[in-house]
């Protein structure tokens, strides 16, 4: 059993003309790697009609609809995060309820608001109510604003997580670029923040540092866009961990924080 907690798919209203092929190639690569379930999100239009990290409500809904269609088309392989923009609180909450009711199993937040902003509290409260985790996009060490993205990183996520200690938060793609050591120091004593191992970064020492800061029971395997690096990290982890610990990273930790019945083994 292998759960990819950080996957993406495309749809017709995204910049990629080859979106169908990319979706299929992701599933094909996942089959080779041995991924049982892709827990995916679609970030609106991925920049086509509104910014990737600040998607408009309309694009958010269209992306979620596309993901729900994929989930229905591949019920044995795809699960969804409801992607929302917390700046539109009412829409975000309505959209989360709609998508969870339709079978999605988590909430995805991009970088459109500082992670510790009070605007995220209603979303975290809903996550607690529905018992679903929140995958928060994080640049590893981001201390200044960028266009369409607020200065926000693991420090802000941990502030939010401390305000909502019963909600499971996932710090996105520790290997996604940036100072991962900064993030790992921040999350070390925040037990409801889990680390998703996805991203293209494969630095020597990064996985060892993840284990030191979070331990095997707070690591979640994921691949994001660059799947071969996810696979590589999984193989390297097998040299660091026992069989039982590897099972935690591969799927058991995910099964613990996602709703009961989200994955086949449940």
């Amino acid at each position: 059993m292998l759960v990819d907690v950080h996957a993406h798919f495309y749809h017709a209203r995204t910049p990629r003309a080859d979106w169908r092929e990319r979706n299929e190639s992701r599933l094909a690569a996942g089959a080779k790697i041995g991924i049982t379930i892709h827990v995916a999100s679609i970030l609106g239009s991925f920049g086509l009609t509104s910014p990737t990290y600040f998607p408009s409500p309309r694009d958010v809904t269209a992306g979620n609809d596309a993901l729900l269609a994929l989930q229905r088309a591949h019920p044995d392989r795809i699960r969804g995060y409801a992607c929302v923009n917390p700046n539109y609180t009412a829409h975000a909450r309505t959209e989360i309820v709609r998508c969870l009711d339709a079978g999605m199993i988590g909430i995805k937040l991009a970088a459109s608001r500082r992670a510790d902003d009070p605007l995220l509290d209603p979303i975290a409260s809903l996550a607690l109510e529905r018992r679903v985790p929140v995958l928060q996009h994080i640049w590893q060490r981001r201390r200044r604003d960028w266009p369409g993205q607020e200065a926000s990183d693991a420090i802000e996520l941990c502030t939010l997580a401390r305000r909502h200690p019963d909600v499971a938060f996932i710090l996105a793609h520790i290997g996604g670029g940036g100072d991962w050591l900064h993030s790992l120091r921040a999350i070390a004593d925040v037990p409801n923040v889990h680390v998703d191992l996805s991203g293209s970064g494969v630095d020597g020492g990064m996985l060892e540092a993840c284990l030191e800061s979070a331990g095997a029971d707070r690591l979640l395997w994921g691949s994001d866009i660059t799947m071969e690096t996810g696979w590589a990290k999984l193989r390297y982890l097998e040299t660091l961990l026992s069989k039982d610990e590897i099972a935690l990273v591969r799927w058991k930790n995910a099964a613990r924080i996602f709703p009961t019945g989200a994955f086949p083994s449940d």
Binding site: G178, S200, T226, W231, K233
Partner: protein, 232 residues
């Protein structure tokens, strides 16, 4: 035979990296089924005189048949020609010079003279685009990336020069703007398209390199496996 043409021994100065000892590298080679590693002494790449790590490198490489020493040369220091001669005498498969880490102009006069000397000695010259992913470097690590234009200038500066450009794949931006887009395991695996590109530019081919221990070898291995599967 599988050769890793880009392995390191010794500590990295900008952060803690595990597995930098010779024994650890041997274990990694066995785990990933790599037969031979071309090794360089990593700490000395940052020294004023990087050749001061070569003696340790030669001595260490003699202790394990899987290691081939790739010593470092600094063409701005006197008697660098002797370093090149020593490398040839020691049976080194290549010699290394990372100009931007030494404060040298990457296609300046020193590097051109070195390229010509390496060409005359039939000694491949190995250069890194960067030693660490630019997204997470230490804030004081400001060394620029080796420009593609400099690589092209060096190739064109001497008919016999053979360059091996390492760390040339950038996960953020895909294949490098240099020439070798394939991480080859050997010449026979090159596609005709890439062979033509290499021939036109005469020298550069990106070999199978892991950059161990600075980057995990499983990454490169996985990428190679994927490409093999794709071409099969």
């Amino acid at each position: 035979m599988r050769i890793d043409c880009n392995a390191f021994l010794g500590a990295y100065p900008w952060r803690k990296v595990p597995g930098t000892s010779p024994d650890s590298l041997v274990a990694a080679l066995e785990r990933t089924k790599i037969d031979v590693a071309w090794v360089t002494h990593l700490p000395s790449l940052f020294w004023r005189d990087p050749t001061e790590g070569n003696a340790w490198l030669y001595e260490t490489a003699r202790k394990d048949k899987r290691f081939r020493p790739v010593p470092t040369v600094h063409p701005g220091l006197a008697q660098w020609e002797q370093v090149l001669a020593d490398a040839a005498n020691a049976g080194a498969p290549a010699i290394r010079c990372d100009p931007l880490y030494l404060g040298l102009e990457p296609s300046g006069s020193e590097m051109r003279v070195l390229a010509a000397a390496c060409g005359a000695a039939r000694m491949p010259l190995l250069l890194a685009v960067r030693l660490e992913d630019g997204r997470q470097r230490h804030p004081n690590d400001h060394v620029a990336e080796l420009p593609a234009a400099a690589v092209r200038a060096l190739i064109r500066s001497d008919a016999d020069v053979r360059l091996i450009v390492t760390h040339a794949v950038d996960a953020r931006r895909g294949p490098p703007p240099l020439v070798g887009h394939q991480l080859d395991l050997g010449p026979a695996r090159r596609s005709s398209r890439d062979a033509a590109r290499h021939d036109r530019l005469r020298a550069v081919r990106v070999w199978h390199g892991t950059a161990a221990p600075a980057a995990r070898d499983e990454h490169r291995e996985a990428r190679s496996a994927r490409r093999e599967a794709r071409s099969a």
